[in-house]
Symmetry: C2
Subunit: 178 residues, 2 copies
DNA sequence: TAAGATCATCTGCGAAACAGACGATTTGAC
DNA sequence: GTCAAATCGTCTGTTTCGCAGATGATCTTA
């Protein structure tokens, strides 16, 4: 088991495996670090998005986190029940709810974030501190470039792929226009 | 993408969001690029591990991919039905099955890999080529350092995984009434 | 040889995701 | 101004999926 999973056999891409492995491990550690939040890792991500994300509606929140709106509903229910966030009516659009964190929500998040940052740093033990900073920068840059808000003009798959007839079968990144 | 998802509010960590976003997008593209494999992205990862991973048993395959053994069983069933892999008895341990790819499996994987590599490169449009190479290197290095094969002496969280009494106070998402 | 651990499989249960419909509201066309 | 279409959040129902547990086969050890 010493050399198994990652190393073998030349130069095929370990990109996906590495990404999945890293996220899995991150998720496990965040689950442990943020166990005072509902829904574990996902709850942490949600609260982070609520506090720092500046997203106008539940739908925006959902697409930013890559989850379904119907899931967002009961996810937020749990947070409201815990007194961590509030649903307020958006005066500009009375269909939408504006999600804001309570004081307690912000405090809980801050405490969790401190633990998560420590866990993240520990997660990246394979890199020395200088590399860690660089890695974080590159990662964020890459993600912002492809996230749900990415430039819609930069069409994606069909350029280099012999995509049959379903170029983008799922997931249309429709950010609210701006 | 100017104001929405990721950028806001100073210096909290976007690490988890970036990781999840990138993996989600990667997964979507691989789903499209490897749609001739069972189980989409997961199937691609499985076949990659079978061909390049040199893993001795289903269990090793499962832990490397972070999935359950019981899932691995029917996942492999699908691949065997498609004639992409075979289960062979391990002569050294007749409990275990040694999973090997068929010729066709290797060919299908090779074709898929070509498409996936292109998709990955396209995924990283936010980085220039030099940064991409660096990012891949750092990512793999970080993942190998924390993966299922990482040095068990410096591990941290593994202890929490099997813990039966682990603090997981809030569970049910509550289909709350309101 | 016996007891315990490990590998792969199967069964059943519970949870989670997804599609669809609904009322409320906004937007756009005419 | 009116009407149709789209959007937001919610709820319902279906179905899929992961996970715990038990089982038979095999290896390991004492």
């Amino acid at each position: 088991m010493s050399t198994t999973a990652g190393t073998r056999t030349g130069e095929h891409s370990l990109f996906g495996w590495s990404l999945a492995t890293l996220l899995r491990e991150w998720s496990a550690r965040v689950d442990a670090a943020a166990d005072d939040l509902p829904q574990g890792t996902r709850g942490y991500q949600l609260l982070t998005a609520v506090v720092h994300g500046n997203l106008p509606s539940q739908a925006a929140l959902a697409t930013s986190l890559g989850i379904d709106r119907t899931v967002m509903t009961y996810l937020l229910d749990a947070f409201v029940d815990c007194g961590l966030v509030e649903r307020r009516l958006d005066p500009a659009d009375r269909r939408a709810r504006r999600i804001v964190a309570t004081d307690r929500g912000r405090a809980v998040l801050a405490a969790a974030e401190a633990r998560v940052v420590a866990a993240e740093d520990e997660l990246l033990t394979g890199l020395d501190p200088e590399q860690r900073a660089l890695f974080r920068t590159l990662l964020e840059q890459a993600a912002v470039g492809t996230g749900p808000d990415a430039d819609p003009c930069r069409t994606v798959v069909e350029a280099t792929t012999p995509a049959p007839d379903a170029p983008r079968p799922q997931r249309s990144p429709r950010p609210a226009s701006r």
